[in-house]
């Protein structure tokens, strides 16, 4: 690519053609304030905080979207630039409630940061409330339009990353606001509860439905036996909430922290991830043998399940009937575990720690009560667990190390990679290959399904049968694959779909911010964790083997079907509450 040179505040630098002023400034170590810009999304230039002056140009330009031209002279600090930025920010602040101490984003708010950066100490403009009502309709996501700064990142995310378009910009001019159609509340839209909008929100206008109080009440109740399961992806991210670099592993400190919080047992969703592989692997083999619906689609990601129920109900027979690891765990905690240890299942309070907001919706699904009780009682995001730890003074990086409890804390490396896009596929192939060929897999790292591209494909030779696999992350990419299935042009056998970019490590319940760079670091940490396991194939998990022997019987057997499998509901994208 052609190189060009520009001067920013007197410093001359060379950048590739097409570089934005914002990126060029970054290269010159000059920080330009931004609010509506997000590295995952194309710039909309709505906030005008990033304006710069360009010699010879009559107008100020927004650095996030303006491209450098050869010889350009840019000022990021002239009086005009400073005044304009300040006024743009003051106007935004004049429509923000400024109840910072009551806000979930206190301390992680981009508006606070930028106000600090620009040295705002007072505001000449009078406060005027924003239009729109607090939306508590969803089991996963709360919308508070009064805090919205109209950056539009949530709308872009919902449309471009997820192809859901549950929310839009309504009205115009001074009274424009972000809303659902006819202001009916997010539960009345095809929202899939993925929470990617929460991750992109610079302020506290979007956040998860909190289960923190619910969990504290259970922990405080001596009658309750409170167990927690932790998803694969949370262990590579929670350290970020305590100021550590992304990708820093603190699994054992996290376990110690959870014990300090008062959980009676700290278990691992990895245990049921291994179990999922056994069940789903056998289901796939069954479909291949008996000519069942193919391609088979994975079912671990609840945002993805919501998506297919709303947008492609005709494809539901393709979805594996396996519950997600969270729900398998919930069903077993109140049956197998309770029986084995002589605990009355009604006293078991089952909590999960998830990188995901859609898991809250999933836990609330009425059909998820195979144990005779609601299988999962509360779902905490990675962020919420960090809040609870901080409430009682736990400083994670300085915690001692502890191990997961037996038996539902035993797992393999195949389970931990569930946190990454491609991980479920890789874990399944590690097992399916050995079950079918009865030979050990030479290289268990199936790198063809790894990576960050939206859609990836691989072909695996299973004793003469070629299995064609595809992996998609982000629902926009998933939609491309589904369109192919509808058109009859998809010749895959097995497709893994995760709703969030990068998979669960980039989930909507993970520490904020998340970006391509941060996702890559968390992904690497997951693979590091996998390599540290002695056992790296799900079918080698001794606790899972014992579970079949003592309790479940055969994979895909009667009991397994009762507890570990589910069914789906076709829904309309327009009247989401009623079945289509």
């Amino acid at each position: 690519m052609k190189s060009i040179s520009v001067t920013i505040d007197g410093t001359r630098i060379t950048v590739p053609e097409g570089t934005t002023v914002l990126d060029a400034a970054k290269k010159a170590q000059i920080k330009i304030p931004t609010l509506c810009y997000h590295p995952d999304l194309p710039p909309v230039s709505a906030c005008r905080l990033c304006v710069v002056e360009i010699a010879g140009d009559r107008l100020l330009r927004t650095a996030c979207s303006w491209q450098c031209r050869d010889g350009m002279e840019i000022s990021t600090k002239s009086a005009l630039v400073r005044d304009s930025r300040k006024m743009a920010l003051e106007l935004l602040l004049s429509r923000h409630p400024m109840k910072c101490t009551e806000c979930v984003r206190n301390g992680s708010c981009e508006l606070q940061d930028v106000a600090d950066l620009l040295g705002i100490r007072e505001n000449p403009f009078e406060y005027r409330e924003r239009k729109g009502e607090l939306d508590l309709s969803s089991a996963s996501i709360v919308r508070d339009p009064s805090k919205c700064i109209l950056c539009r990142r949530c709308i872009q995310t919902c449309e471009m990353v997820q192809s859901v378009s549950a929310i839009g910009l309504e009205g115009r001019g001074y009274d424009v606001w972000v809303d659902t159609p006819f202001g009916k509340g997010i539960a009345d839209t095809p929202c899939v509860s993925c929470g990617q909008c929460i991750d992109r929100c610079p302020v506290g206008a979007l956040y998860e439905t909190s289960h923190v109080d619910r969990v504290w009440r259970a922990l405080d109740n001596p009658q309750k036996h409170v167990v927690i399961q932790t998803a694969p992806a949370v262990r590579v991210a929670i350290s970020e909430e305590f100021g550590l670099e992304p990708g820093k592993l603190t699994t054992k400190q996290m376990v110690a922290g959870l014990k300090r919080l008062g959980f009676d047992r700290v278990f691992d969703t990895n245990f049921t991830a291994d179990l999922t592989i056994i069940e789903e692997g056998h289901e796939l083999l069954g479909r291949l043998k008996k000519g069942g619906k193919l391609p088979m689609l994975t079912s671990c990601s609840p945002g993805w399940i919501n998506f297919i129920e709303h947008f492609f109900p005709e494809l539901l027979p393709h979805v594996s009937s396996c519950k997600s690891p969270q729900q398998m765990f919930g069903a077993l905690a109140k049956t197998y575990y309770a029986q084995k240890f002589g605990i009355d299942p009604k006293d078991v309070f089952s909590v999960s720690m998830m990188p995901c907001t859609a898991k809250k919706y999933e836990a609330d699904r009425p059909e998820m009560n195979a144990s005779g009780y609601q299988d999962v009682d509360a779902v905490l995001t990675t962020r919420e667990v960090a809040v609870m730890m901080k409430q009682i003074g736990i400083d994670l990086p300085n915690m001692h190390e502890e191990e997961y409890d037996d038996p539902l804390g035993v797992s393999t490396g195949a389970a931990v990679i569930f946190g990454n896009t491609g991980g479920v596929m890789e874990a399944a192939l590690r097992t399916v290959y050995e079950v079918v060929t009865e030979k050990p897999l030479d290289d268990i790292e199936i790198t063809a399904v790894r990576g960050m591209e939206g859609i990836r494909e691989a072909e695996i030779d299973l004793a003469g049968t070629k299995v064609k696999a595809a992996v998609a992350n982000g629902l926009y990419n998933a939609r491309q694959l589904l369109d192919k299935i509808v058109a009859g042009t998809a010749d895959y056998h097995f497709i893994e779909i995760m709703a969030c970019p990068g998979g669960c490590i980039g989930g909507g319940g993970q520490p904020i911010p998340t970006s391509q760079e941060i996702r890559a670091k968390r992904t690497e940490a997951i693979y590091t964790e996998d390599r540290a396991y002695e056992l790296r194939k799900s079918h080698e998990n001794p606790a899972v083997q014992l579970l079949y022997k003592e309790f479940l019987g055969e994979p895909n057997g009667h009991k397994a079907h009762e507890l570990l499998h589910t069914h789906y509901t076709a829904k309309s994208q327009y009247q989401p509450d009623s079945a289509a």
């Binding site: 378009s165 929310i167 839009g168 910009l169 309504e170 009205g171 115009r172 159609p181 006819f182 327009y574």
Partner: protein, 158 residues
Amino acid sequence: MSDLNRIDQIVAGYQSTQSPLIYILKDVQKEFGHLSEPVLTRVAEATRIPLSEIYGVATFYSLFTTKPKGQHIVRCCNNAPCWVNGSKDVLEKIKEYLEIETGETTEDGSFTLEFTSCLGLCAVAPVMMVDEQVYGNLTPEKAVAILRDFKTKGSANA
């Protein structure tokens, strides 16, 4: 109210038009009076454009309405030239006469009162529009007389 199937016909008529949404909404509003939830949902189904986007367009343009409106639409100019020539008094009098605020519809459904931006008739300010007709050089009394006229005409038609 018209049959929702009409919407499919309207949409089909714009099959070869690029970015047809505004034309479709215009025709649909003409047919149904306003862009209600069932109506826009049908437009979304027929065009395969997300409902949130359609709703955004419907609320952006002031000539589209998602709520039922009165038989006559009264639009008072609220820009500076009309203002300095007394549009405020005119507006107050109209509100008093119709017993509604701007943005509302009278109980009998005969009038909806709205603001409009400059109509380019500042020479005869203050100005208002009733349906497609423009009235200038208004005084509070003149405005009320015009509306009274519409009322009697309206009931004569009914």
